[in-house]
Amino acid sequence: MEFLLTPASVLLLFAFFFIGSVGAVFIERLFSDNGKMAGFWGHGFALLGSLLGLAISVSVLFFGQGIAFTLPTVFPNFLLDFRLDGIAAFFFGIISLVSALASIYGFGYQKHFYGKYRLGVFSFFYNAFIASLLLVPIANHALFFLLAWELMSVASYFLVVFENQKEENIKAGFLYFLMTHFGTVFVMIAFFLAYKATGSFLFDDWRAATGTITPLIQGIIFGAALIGFGTKAGIIPLHIWLPEAHPAAPSHVSALMSGVMVKTALFMLFRFFFDFFPGAPMEWGLVIILIGSLSALLGILYALSENDIKRLFAFSTVENVGIILLGLGAGVTFFSIGLESFALFSLAAALYHTLNHAIFKSLLFLGAGSVVEATGTRNMESYGGLIKLLPFTAGFFLVGSLAISAFPPFNGFASEWLTFQSLFIGMTSAEMIIKVVFFIAIGSLVFTSGLAAACFVKTFGATFLARPRTEEAKNAKEVSVFMLLPMGILALLSFLLGINATTVVASLIAIIASIGLIRPVTLQFPFSEFIQARADFAAILPLESIALLLGLVFLLSFGAIWFVTRSRKIVVGPTWDCGTPLGPRGEITSGSFSRSLVTIFRGILRPTRQSTVEYHDEDMRYFIKSQEIRTSMSDPYRKGIYQPIGVVLHFLASQARRIQSGNVNMYILYLFLTLIILLLWATHV
């Protein structure tokens, strides 16, 4: 057990991934079985590494003892400084858990690639991706962190474009590559400013130097960190890569990207605002809350308008990141006005939602992957009736939908309830500006949760219920047990994390308090009986009580009704639709389900409708021969923000091209001039 708390275990962890990645490439060369062995090797070592990571994080959290060590390198300013404290261990645990389950899923999913793509290459990048995901929370040196961050981006890029026979995957990958490096530039700005102000790349030194950084520099650092990590997290308007890249990747990689990779960005935001430079002014907290409100509402509106199941989930990730940011922003605000215990509470809500989202979003992505595997398409308008053909997938998917729509007694409800409570607290605070922003946040959260429920009724209903709409849906078969097992485990976890909300929140508060910033003190909560004024904040809403009572009432009423009606017959017959024969075209489709909501919000969503009509007689135009209608959503971010930027950049680049005359003598002249100017400058300084 103690082994798990030593540096050796961490190194062993990364060794597993290294063996998994490199070994798989060699194994694919050796065996010629379509890459089956390489896939098993890669997924297997990823599973081993993830399980070890889970064990490490659990022991760190359980024993309350962190791991910290440094490995020197040949470069003087670049140290491989590892540090796993409470918060890092929490994220480490989330990443390991989802990676382990995704790897088990991969055992079943990999047959998708036999003969078409090279599994050795896939396993290489897969292991590199998970290793870099695990490196990000544990890195304690800015350059080391940037290395891990870049490795994560590059590995995931290769995974996104892995199925390179499809044109849209390549485009998605390119956009992802652009946006992630855009974000990394801002991260680097933040890091280098901090280096300049504190003189060191080590995060520990940054923690010690708080107070010596001028507010202006600190403000720029916060802004750069918010943009940089926000791009990776997918806040509006930096999200445009998310709905392209997450669906393009293979399903278990999508689960990792959506469930885990965005969390690493949120982890670093947490670090910046609470660990490195605590005491951010109140305005930053309010800005984060406003960004969160906007992302949450717009994310779910875009999700509602989608018919591609994985794009819908990607937008839903944007929505949930917004909800997490609401908690984070509330925490920053409370901390800045001195309400430290409320800050602790809000941060616990944010971290709880982080955990919950990782669990149910991975569950949903794995479920979507199974459905895509069974039917061969991502278009929800082709599904239907799958609940009878894929019963287990449907059951687990239903649990995921219930959890993400925040229904009691699942985990989504617990974290959303906590977020609401923290927003309610802020709403009653003294200052007007805080009240207004929290008001906006509560309004946004309420609409978001209502629309999320509508969105997931549409998703589950159009995919699994009623009759199959196409031949592929009619021929779907249940997926392998390797793919069902991780979904089942995640569904069970959703339920358990919900009914044990009290325990989870108490643990989260202990974890946050362990970074030494805030001590939980007694306080009066004006809102809920269940947040009692106790030093250990233990009593949160007892969801297990609600679950028990609901179960009891259900059983009693079921029993009573069964007894009363036990002699009644049930006859199975065709669906009643006014006596007409019903085909698949009689059912509601996912597009038409959300059409009413899209029409109501058309100011924001801007749906477009294109109609092409062909007449029997072009002159008379009375009788239509055929009509084609295309409905779609316009993308205001690309048209309004990114394309103009692209045009400007293009213009500047073409202007800069003027100095590229192609003449070698001109280039030598440039070199000569530059050298003279630098020498003059050096002598003057």
């Binding site: 017959g573 065709p574 009643w576």
Partner: protein, 181 residues
Amino acid sequence: MYRLLRKIALTAKVVVPEKELLLLDTETLGQELSSSIKKLFQGSLSIREVAAGSSNAEEQELTALSNSYYDIERFGIRFVASPRHADMLFVSGPVSRNMTEGLRRTYAATPDPKIVVAIGDGAIDGGVYRDSYGVWNSVSDVIPVDFQIPGDPPSPKVVLASLLKILRETEKSTDVSSENK
């Protein structure tokens, strides 16, 4: 608005008294329901109306049943939108060929115990459409019929009186063993 409310409050209710309906001499053809079925539907009956190629005269009369003079709701009887919710089917018209499948599906979609009533002369034996190429001549050729209310069309009073006779216990013997399923 105030004038309307005043009128509502002051207008006397004029409704056909139940006694008058029970005394009306109607000829409702069909075998009497069993006692258990009568007890089941006496307090509450849901009717689904199916127009199977009728002239809509019967439907006009049936809409009058919900007005304040006949007020069918006071007997616990109401019209419903779906055959799944219905206990009784009112079929009118001589069942055009195009409506065959629709009528059969409606009958299959109604849960047991159910009662089928053919309303109007057209539904009983074809009426003025008798022996036309486009009709079946009688609802009982398509689905089993329990009761028939003749008339072209039967007035609402006749329909209401017939319904009450069908549902209520009469002085006649109650040990008729036909169970209408």
